[in-house]
Amino acid sequence: MIDTIVAPPEPSAPTRQRRARKGPVTYLVRLLVVAYLFLLVAWPVSLVVTHTFENGLDALRTLFEDPDIVHAMRLTVVAAVVATVINTVFGVSVSLLLVRTEFPGKRVLSALLDLPLAISPIVVGLALVLVYGGRGGWFGPTLESWGLQIIFSTPGIILATAFVALPLVIREVVPVLGEVGIEQEQAAQSLGANGWQTFWRITLPGIRWAIVYGVVLTLARSLGEFGAVKVVSGNILGETRTATLAVEESYLNFNQEGAYAIAFLLASVSVACIIVVSILRARAAGH
């Protein structure tokens, strides 16, 4: 008898088409929005692309022939990847603590975690210099006496990048973790899984897409960080100059073509990142 029960499709709430009745207001608002976005975003962005390819692929080719630029790009990628790894581990741990445990000060912590989104990157850079600066920083001189230079060096760039992108993974993971609930984890425990097994086999797969979104957004943000990196890096050619700093230098040195080319590369990576995320999200929503 029970076998005859047919599996119904996933009980999805009937999504009704939310169409506005089309009146003149609808068309007016649509026109306004399209024009605004075209003038503010679409047209300017497309101009960067056309500027880059004004002389075919020459601009990009020259770019890859300049060892300093190649070094800058490599440094940007390294810093972004390291910062993303740090923020992912930190973000997932903090999310678990925020959603799954109770501790005093939780509310304050969850509010403070948003702080990097609301702080000027220059303030971020200044704050790091004041603590880790080799000359007069709180910890800097001690660390340098141990042979660890942070400011005007790669670790400083990584710290600055990690700071500005700190909340992105958490913001993706926390809501999903709350939504998934703890029943699956408890079921795993009652079936004999220890804490570690439960985390790897149940919790992590449950939040994997949130982590992927968070990582992609963090990566995009990290590759493009400018202000904070400018303060902590010292902008030393061939050493601590990152790709975004190279854009500024090239432009100010009247090498507009070079500036547009690096900008194009950075923009393509970040736009690719958001397109990947939006496709993944759309697919997840479709399931």
Partner: protein
Amino acid sequence: MSTTTTGWPGLSRPAGSVTLTRTSGIGLGLTMTWFSLLVLIPLAAVIVTATEGGWTNFWSAITNEQTSRAIVLTLLAATAVTVVNVFMGTAIAWVLVRDRFWGRSALDVLIDIPFALPTIVAGLVLLSLYGNDSPLGINVANTSWSVYLAFLFVTLPFIVRMVQPVLESLDLDIEEAAASLGASRFTTFRRIILPSLAPAIAAGATLSFARGVGEYGSLVLLSGNLPFESEVASVRILGAIENDNPAAAASVATLLLVVSLLVIVALDVIQRRVARRD
């Protein structure tokens, strides 16, 4: 709220939380150590450095004529841009959720571009249309208008991305109920829809304001950083750092930090109010 919004909806559900075990205690210790080293101690250093010289030094640092002009311009532009965003952001979210036309999903991707684009590139992007070689013949480079333009660009996504999911989750039945009770479309919007969107708009507006106040990268190439004309607070901080005057830099930074903290508190309050309503 959906996962695309800011805020921590997961936190509003403490059910099933457990008290700290040993493992999570160690985890909390490690994460808090890192968070302190990366964020809390450096920010404390800013405030300490600013206040070391006493109130007079702090006050004279931020009331320095050039600095105060920069601060006023920053706050003014951030406020004006936030007001524009309240209207445009809501309108954009409305079009993205309720309107259907060819190319709408492309608009959806456009919204994220200002957030994803490196700020220095954002400046370059705007310069290409509104700079010296403007195909439109509009040149705002090196004027205070460039600050408004740059803020508009970089703060574009905040309100849109906050309002969009709320608008999506809004029950169409409620609007139909209002209509059946005789409300006109405008009344329905004002009395039924707007109150539901208000917290999201407020949250987006605070974030947009904070972003504007702290903006730097997109202005570097666009505004020329002319004193008394197009210089913003962040640029003054950088100038003080480069002139080896950390106390002055920290003073202005502290002012910005206070704005950021107020924004965070406002967000927290808004989110808790929303959570209670759910």
